[in-house]
Amino acid sequence: MTNTPKAYDEMQRPDGSVTSPYTGYNAWFTAQDPARLESKSREAEAFFRRTGITFNVYGQSEAQERLIPFDLVPRILSHREWTKLSKGIDQRVRAINAFIWDIYNRQEILRAGRVPKHLIAHNEAFLPQMMGFTPPGNIYTHIVGTDIVRTGAGDFFVLEDNARTPSGVSYMLENRETMLQMFPELFSKIRVQPVSDYPKNLRRSLAASAPPACTGKPRVAVLTPGIHNSAYFEHSFLADQMGAELVEGHDLRVVDGRIAMRTTRGYRVIDVLYRRIDDDFLDPLSFNPDSMLGVPGIMDVYRAGGITIANAPGAGIADDKAIYSYMPEIVEFYTGEKAILRNVETHRCAEPEALKYVLDNLADLVVKEVHGSGGYGMLVGPAASKTEIAAFRKKLEANPASYIAQPTLSLSTVPIFVDRGLAPRHVDLRPFVLVSPDGVNITPGGLTRVALTEGSLVVNSSQGGGTKDTWVLED
């Protein structure tokens, strides 16, 4: 696909002048020797490789570990832009938690007819085991990654609410570390809000959600599927940074109504489990009986108040792409306010009229699977060949309820560093949000993902995307 000429560039206005958040950076950049930046860029790659900041790609037996390319030009947001964004995110995650509680308890929103019942009843993310249960502090989504895209100066949209186990926060932290090491002088010239408190805040936030059975200082552990998982680096990184144990399912068992981990000195109780495995694998007694990754009986302990599981099982009901299209109603229903952040216009293919529209306009739309994730199983109409569109049409007609469609957004661009200088590339943004009984905490910035190929709109790391450090300027 070719670069749409009207894409909004966050650094440079059409007349060539530089936007205000980038003024300081631009002055610094133009004074740099490109050869030095070139060598810094290679240095960064060597640094990532040496420290093992890699991700595994499923289905690639050789070279299983790859780096996510890092671009040294930061993505910069002004204090004002961020304030508006963070207010909108705050409002949205509060509504999401209220929504999930309601779905598993009184279901008022269904009774009020604002969200159709069948979307819940037939939803794979809905867990009947959660009915009538309230997790500690009413928190379901302790960690949220809200995907934001931008199309104009003031036009921010939420693309997805990742309410299950959002990943990428380790890259946010390591990208900033890398920038601080490579260009310390930049940070003395330009005042950027720090992100390094995230691990401390994560730990505090998890500890604040300890279960009723916890008596002393809450003991936190991170549950990983193991070293072959694509995000294993992040799991060990977060455990390390929080000073928490990194456990796998086979390290855990139920002991006297609590979850305990096997240590060299016997079993020790865990109070809060930050799990990075899907609901389905959490408890072979309650869900997928073949799961080797989870802990048999953990759901019973959970419901009895013996452990806090973060995020709560069944929280995925809120980030389903079909539910997504109802988010403006959901926000209004629970907060009594209009949603501050806009949704991307979404056509639900389950509805005959919408389906007809989508089928007629496949070449212009992005079609996504309702339950899919990470850019797999989707069609980007304008980038697809006629054959691909025809093949996708068949899939869509066979199972329309599994899909939603959205207009192809003209994502904003931010320059990346290429051999001849700067070149615009499309970006998105995933801010990381912590929710605890003490409140909502949003780390200023987040992870900016960038499509490295000219004109490409696909920013997923599994499909050739890279990342940037994201700056929110001090006021």
Binding site: T51, G52, I227, S236, D240, H250, D251, R262, T264, G266
Partner: protein, 313 residues
């Protein structure tokens, strides 16, 4: 500490030790093959036996040529003891226990793995071999240095050291075992030239050929060499040294955890057994028998440690 983490540390350092041992064996074998080409086949056979991979090798190859054995010991993924396989296993364990390692140790292991994977991407020619072996030695010194220089002296360190010495004791004992017949005292006071070559091979396999000349005032005899490898506590690869280290690290764990396990008794017994012997009684009881018994007891101790500290559920 998680039992799994203790196990990961123990195995990480067993594998690191093994990579160095394999490289050393290869070095000694290669030297034999160069200097005494008529015996090359049988020397390679005993190198493979010592490395514990001969059965697998024989399933794959019918002959024992330099390049084949070199490739098998350095690069072959079918050989679980090849340098590449062992380094991969060491790094996988390091990833597993990453939260227990200092940045320096993790980066040293990761760097070692990256360097060796790159170096061993393609078959190594005999001309390149000395350089490759030197790199392997250098990399393991890097990891060891990072461990000694940066890790807290706590249970994490103890499990790392116990893995190292259980593996090293096993390795030295295997070398003696495979070559025991050349170490039997013979009627002649001075060994034949053939014996001398064999003895040098043995000493090289434990990087002790120079130490021996430095330390030992006696002539090079079978008895002196066996005594040196089994009992000399100045030699960091002797059985007595390894057992002493294992016992001490286990004792630190006993103090820190305030718990005595069956493995502590086993370790004390093994150490006591070595102390009750000297080289004369070893030959009276049979070198082969004594060493076989040692290998068995050392393995039993390893298994008991895994069990007592709950490496696996």
């Amino acid at each position: 500490m998680l039992g799994k983490t203790a196990g990961g540390l123990y195995w990480m350092f067993r594998f690191l030790e093994r990579s160095e041992n394999t490289a050393r064996l290869l070095e000694a074998g290669f030297r034999m093959a160069l200097t005494r080409s008529s015996d090359a086949e049988s020397e390679w056979r005993s190198v493979l036996t010592t490395s514990g991979s001969r059965t697998l090798y024989d399933e794959k190859y019918d002959t024992y040529t330099d390049t084949q054995v070199m490739d098998w010991l350095l690069r072959d993924g079918d050989n679980p003891s090849s340098v590449v396989s062992v380094m991969k296993a060491a790094r996988d364990n390091a990833r597993l226990v990453r939260t227990a390692l200092t940045t320096e140790v993790w980066e040293a292991v990761n760097d070692t793995w990256m360097t060796l994977s790159d170096l061993l991407k393609a078959p190594v020619s005999p001309v390149e071999l000395p350089g490759v072996l030197a790199t392997i030695r250098k990399q393991s010194a890097l990891v060891r240095g990072a461990l000694h220089g940066t890790m807290l002296r706590n249970d994490i360190y103890d499990f790392a050291r116990i893995g190292t010495f259980i593996e090293r004791a096993d390795n030295t004992a295997r070398i003696i075992d495979v070559k025991y017949y050349t170490l039997l005292p013979s009627a002649s006071a001075v060994g034949s030239s053939l014996d001398n070559v064999q003895w040098e091979m043995i000493l090289r396999s434990v990087s002790a050929h120079r130490c021996f000349r430095w330390l030992d005032e006696q002539d090079m005899t079978a008895t002196a060499i066996a005594d040196f490898l089994i009992f000399d506590r100045r030699l960091p690869r002797s059985l007595a040294f390894c057992v002493k280290q294992t016992t001490e690290n286990l004792r630190y764990l006993e103090e820190e955890y305030e718990t005595r396990h069956p493995c502590h008794d086993l370790a004390d017994k093994l150490r006591g057994r070595l102390k009750s012997l000297d080289i004369t009684t070893v030959f009276e009881q049979g070198l082969h028998e004594v060493i076989t018994e040692f290998i068995r007891d050392n393995n039993t101790l390893g298994a008991q440690i895994e069990n007592d500290f709950r490496f696996i559920g």
